[in-house]
Symmetry: C2
Subunit: 350 residues, 2 copies
């Protein structure tokens, strides 16, 4: 004769409850609902493959159990991770923060997880991340990639990716059209009477740095201006001092600077040296980052829709990942820019 009770037994309650220690799985739901796990799976992901009544029952149960599918398990069988990695050269730089903000926003909207990676301006780290994360991300967004053309081509052959501010024949790209705005900036300086201008360059490996210089050189000489170039400088405020000193030395009366960070650093140094901006020297930055409007003096800069660039990059990547049969996805997006004039530019001295 069996003992009537055992403490380990719990009477069946009307409200189904899972063991609190373990996360509910598809199987728990299946048992409770009296169906197979496959049915639960389908009810949850391909709703029309299952009878509305069964489905509802399953959905209720799932909600009751607080069920959350394991993205790991799901990824394992489906082969997708539902995550996108965003690689930036310097997480410290406000410019990239705007990019991150943009990608984050758009990825979230698409229900995709963002994996953020700081490659520390290093070609090697970038490659390594690209390699190591192959399995954990469905695609990559490379902001201002430091990869060589060959590397980029190779990688983009293997895995979906889109670049930001790095033209490439092999991968879809979104570029911020700062170069064209440089013409506007030169026009602006020219109209203020400047004849000696200087380009303050950033990282030599930066594609956009090269692009900007090229346009600068062409257009300034076309205008008959005396053209200088200094650098390269690390694009941080701390390099601004060296840049400012070098700029002064060229005798130029106006500078167009690789980015706002550097420009702001220059502003500080120039003030220290007792030079007035814009009376003695005009400064044009680039990117219109956070801070460009409240530094002293507020910075005239080439305003870029940075955040939007991030969003567009995500769209391009996603449409590459889930191709719509008819439409082929876009390969290039050019984000327009414009000159935002603040107080750091003024008439040329004397």
């Amino acid at each position: 004769m069996a003992k009537a009770t055992a403490n380990s037994e719990t009477p069946v309650t009307s409200q189904p409850r899972m063991p609190t220690d373990r996360m509910p799985t598809i199987r728990d739901i299946a048992e409770l609902a009296g169906v197979a796990t496959s049915t639960v799976s389908r009810a949850l992901s391909r709703p029309d493959r299952v009878n509305p009544r069964t489905r509802q029952r399953i959905e209720e149960l799932a909600a009751q159990l607080n069920y959350v599918p394991s993205s790991q398990a799901r990824g394992l069988s489906s082969g997708r991770t539902n995550a996108v990695a965003v690689l930036v050269p310097d997480i410290t730089n406000p410019f990239y923060f705007d990019i991150i903000r943009g990608t984050q926003h758009q990825l979230k909207a698409a229900g995709v997880t963002q994996l953020l990676v700081d490659t520390e301006e290093s070609n090697e780290m970038e490659l390594e991340a690209l390699h190591k994360m192959r399995r954990s991300a469905d695609g990559f967004i490379l902001a201002a990639s430091r990869l060589t053309d060959a590397q980029l081509a190779e990688v983009s052959g293997t895995q979906p990716l889109v670049t930001i501010n790095r033209a490439s024949a092999s991968a879809p790209t979104v570029v911020i059209d700062t170069p064209s705005a440089i013409i506007q900036a030169l026009e602006h300086l020219s109209s203020l009477g400047h004849h000696r201008v200087c380009y303050v360059s950033g990282p030599p490996t930066s594609w956009s740095n090269q692009a900007r210089w090229k346009v600068f050189e062409e257009d300034s000489s076309k205008r008959g201006m005396e053209t200088h170039r200094i650098g390269p400088f690390v694009p941080k405020t701390t390099s601004g001092a060296a840049a400012a000193d070098a700029a002064v030395r060229t005798g130029a009366t106006a500078c167009i600077v690789f980015n706002d960070l550097l420009a702001i650093g220059m502003l500080q140094r120039l003030r220290e040296r007792g030079m007035r901006v814009p009376e003695d020297m005009s400064i044009v930055g680039s990117d219109d980052i956070f801070g460009a409007d409240f530094c002293n003096p507020p910075l005239t800069t080439i305003a870029s829709p940075i955040e939007q660039a991030g969003r567009v990059a995500v769209s391009m990547l996603l449409s590459q990942l889930n191709p719509t049969p008819g439409r082929s996805s876009r390969k290039l997006a050019i984000m327009p820019t414009h000159l935002t004039i603040r107080a750091s530019t003024g008439p040329a001295p004397d």
Copy 2:
């Protein structure tokens, strides 16, 4: 009799090569090495469980095939994801940039993936993220959580988490000790002859806002100062205008502001209104974010080791996830702060 050849067959080559279309798995390596998959698995993750020679062979093969383990599969069987989610209320805010930078840094060092989530200052979004990501993260870092005490307690019962700038009895916490620095700031203002001071408050749901106000009120009245409080304001530069106007109206000669963002906004507005800082009004910010040193005038502020707070939070979380038998992990870290005096504070008017 079997056909002698079939096109699908490839002669065995001396150099092992995998089908280019599929990612190499542990199984491919096992086959090539003539061992069982379990051996490969062990060779790669528990090196001393396997003969050095076998291990080396496997490692070479792995390198040759460019093998990268699938974190998904690994997580599925091990039950861990090797990822940590970092929840911030506003990815736009430089303060959180610094936190993110800190966590990112430390997580990367530990080989853990960072999942970044913007909860948009919303209690609900925060809860939802916490819920949805239960399965995809091993732990959570909540920066300036907007959760109620009850919610926080409940969540922290279920999953490992550490909060930043949000005291909690239930979860490990790292707080930045801005409140105590408020005393320094008041001392500073007092020594400059200010008698009428105003606290410009931030989000009412922010724990640190409450903490700051409490100290401000106590200490300023202890000093016999006339104490004002305005707000709450959304902690963005754009709210600075309203804050500045309200502050002027109180008749206070100095403000301590919830954060630098708001303070910078106030600086701008005061200038617009023709008020001089610090001659007519002194401003003390909080956090020493990017930009506090180059705004106009440079902001006196309560400097916080924000990035370090992020790093410490990660350490605390990780030691919670991989507990060292002997040592119990720390439950509270208080980050010291200090007053950084720049140009936005000066002697009280007349």
